[in-house]
């Protein structure tokens, strides 16, 4: 991996690289001088753009830093590629995307193990539990984007250390050419005609969307946020009657026809549908009628971000109408969707393309989630092994 460094930190950066090579973890502290305004305001402690002297000052400071480190952001995930390009073009700030396929835990590890180095990620895109635990560990800087008040109350930290950015529903993707009658609910999945065809995109003890899939199955089978066991029982039943296939579904396995029915986030499945069209695959996406489960990811700023101004500008960009609509184009539901709909700034064509849902999403509390995770960690292997 090549790391390109801001001009004013080349020396420090190369020191950090040398230090890293020497197996020691003392990097160079970023040069904070560049991110202070004339009247001595530091971007690293700014809790909003206004606090730093307005957007123009923030843009200027960020441009001076010239670089932004992001981590674990795949370009083909919720249209992130367009967001990265858009930001680079608009502000001329270079984005380094480290290990695009990393997990939330990888992000936290990068922040904790490289404290004070130039190579730490500036901003994080985390699963909600990870955002919570990172905030508890004091890793995150509080920051309110301009549209902060429009983010629904239940979807942000009271201290503004993290806030939901985009999310989606658990959906069932289905290869309409291979599967005669696409399933529209969890109940359908149990039908004998789907033998060996139903896959998750990973293991629920590791993958967030697979975990969501089990939660949704629980809701469909008499479970609740407090009780995920029926979801485990459902997959155990699915495994027993031979419908469940343990292969992790990826675009490649879908193309080969190995996982013609794949349970995944709707924005990923819908994105695949576009991708597959050119390959002659008809990939249909529905949100199961009997189990609707939504989950949002969260944005956060690293407290020790080496590029504090660029980090804050990135957040402002993500929560601008432009940024939110780009997520929407990637079939993800941005956190400001409701507010933008009211204000008339929502991209209506993109919104119309989303898989249909009824009602507003509700979310399990942190306690309910951690209880459910324990149940999964203990019981998933037993449910699908053998």
């Amino acid at each position: 991996m090549t790391v390109s460094l801001p001009r004013n930190a080349v020396l420090g950066g190369s020191l950090a690289v040398v230090a890293a090579l020497a197996l020691s973890a003392c990097g160079a502290a970023p040069d904070k001088a560049s991110t202070t305004t004339k009247d001595g305001k530091s971007a690293a402690t700014a809790t909003s753009a206004a606090d730093f002297g307005g957007m123009d000052a923030l843009v200027k400071a960020a441009k001076k830093e010239g670089t932004l480190h992001i981590i674990a952001v795949p370009r083909d995930w919720a249209n992130y590629g367009a967001l990265i390009d858009g930001f680079q073009k608009k502000y001329g700030i270079k984005i380094n995307d480290e290990s695009p396929d990393g997990s939330s835990q990888d992000e936290i590890n990068a922040v904790t193990t490289r404290k004070g180095q130039d190579r730490t990620p500036d901003v994080l895109d985390l699963g909600s539990s990870f955002a919570l635990s990172a905030a508890q560990q004091g890793l995150l800087a509080p920051y309110k984007v301009a549209s902060y008040t429009d983010i629904p109350e239940a979807q942000k930290d009271p201290q503004a250390r993290w806030f939901n950015d985009y999310g989606g529903y658990v959906s069932i993707g289905c290869d309409a050419k291979r599967v005669k009658q696409c399933p529209t609910s969890f109940k359908d999945l149990l039908k004998p005609q789907y033998k060996g065809q139903v896959a998750l995109n990973g293991n629920p003890a590791k993958s967030g969307s697979a975990f969501g899939g089990v939660y949704a199955a629980a809701l469909a089978n008499g479970g609740s946020f407090d009780n995920i066991q029926p979801g485990l029982d459902f997959f155990a039943k699915l495994k027993k009657n031979g419908n469940y296939t343990p292969v992790e579904s990826t675009p490649a396995t879908v193309e080969k026809g190995e996982t013609p029915i794949s349970i995944d986030w709707d924005y990923l499945n819908a994105g695949y549908a576009d991708e597959f069209k050119s390959k002659g695959l008809d990939w249909k996406v529905v949100i199961p009628s009997d189990g609707q489960y939504a989950q949002y990811y969260s944005q956060a700023i690293n407290k020790d971000a080496p590029h504090p101004a660029a980090a804050r500008l990135w957040q402002e960009y993500l929560y601008s109408t432009e940024g939110q609509n780009l997520w929407l184009k990637g079939y993800a539901r941005p956190a400001l969707m409701a507010a933008m709909e009211k204000a008339g700034t929502l991209d209506k064509t993109a919104a119309a393309k989303l898989p249909k849902v009824t009602g507003t999403p509700s979310f399990p509390t942190e306690d309910q989630q951690s209880k459910a995770k324990t149940v999964i960690a203990q019981g998933w292997g037993k449910a699908v092994s053998g």
Partner: protein, 299 residues
């Protein structure tokens, strides 16, 4: 290195001896330093992490055996035993199938065949991870080319099972066995065979009483190597059977770098320590056996 001063009552002979031995020690220092950094530090970190718990809010670290206890219970224990079982069976099968294959290659007169098989083995022994899993999925999976072509579905064939995974592992374990055992097979002198046959031994008797005992140390070594390879394999299983076959490496990955479980890193380290202990046990069984079978070779 000892830096103790020679005591006055020690015979000068000893100190002379020590002076002669010092250069030998010095030559080993770079290796020891390398091992200490590349192997010692991570090992210490694993042991330290396996026995400590960080408090999420205060960041304080306390020492406890809770992680080790947790790592030897419930699904973790199932996974550990599953890994041992899978590795033992696939190593045994790999050795059983690799030995005759290697013998056939060694005893053939064709140099070309020998070179080809050994080169191919070198490549295949290192073929693993997701590409290997996907190759099998595309060939023998539920919609795989062969599965559809030969109608395997009706016979109850399922790649995503314990035995399916063993089949995939054999794909790289057999070549590994061929690579490991070929030099030993080269060491079997044809005179021994001739002598045995001249004394009226059958081919079976020759193998039972002469060749196999001579090969035993290398065979055991090969078995241990195969066991280790299968035991440590991760990516292939993760992509192919997910959690349908309980394996300790998959559990470590879930705990260490997932999007779901929070704060399980130390349990993952405890699981790694369990793996180290299992590997240590295997070595503890292997070394005395090897010594016993190597003993008569010295004669």
């Amino acid at each position: 290195m000892t830096t103790a001063l020679p005591r006055a009552d020690v015979a000068p002979v000893a100190s002379a001896k020590r002076r002669r031995r010092a250069p030998g020690w010095l030559a080993v220092v770079p290796l020891l330093v390398f091992v200490a950094i590349a192997f010692g530090l991570p090992a210490v970190a694993i042991v330290n992490g396996a026995f400590s718990v960080d408090d999420a809010t205060t960041g304080a670290t306390t020492y406890t055996g809770a992680n080790m206890t947790a790592s030897l219970q419930g699904p973790y224990l199932t996974a550990l035993l599953g890994s041992v079982k899978l590795s033992a069976i696939s190593a045994a099968l790999g050795a059983l199938l690799g030995l005759p294959l290697a013998q056939a290659v060694v005893s053939s007169r064709s140099r070309w065949l020998r070179e080809a098989v050994l080169t191919a083995s070198g490549v295949l022994a290192n073929f693993g991870g997701v590409p290997l899993a996907f190759a099998f999925v595309a060939t023998l999976g539920n919609a795989g080319v062969l599965t559809v072509h030969l109608g395997l579905k009706d016979t109850g064939w399922d790649l995503y099972s314990f035995w399916g995974l063993i089949l995939v592992y054999l794909y790289f374990l057999i070549p590994l066995m061929v690579l490991t055992i070929t030099p030993a097979l080269d060491g079997l002198r044809s005179q021994w065979r001739e002598a045995a046959l001249n004394n009226g031994a059958t081919g079976v008797q020759y193998w039972r009483h002469v060749a196999l005992p001579v090969l035993a140390p290398s065979l055991l070594g090969g078995l241990v190597l195969l066991f280790g390879s299968a035991f440590a394999a991760y990516a292939t299983a993760a992509a192919m059977v997910g959690s349908a076959v309980p394996l300790v490496t998959l559990q470590i990955a879930d705990a260490l770098s997932g999007n779901v479980l929070v704060g399980q890193e130390n349990v993952a380290l405890a699981l790694s320590l369990d793996m180290v202990l299992v590997a240590g046990l295997v070595m503890a069984v292997y070394l005395p056996l090897q010594r016993r079978s190597a003993r008569w070779l010295d004669a």
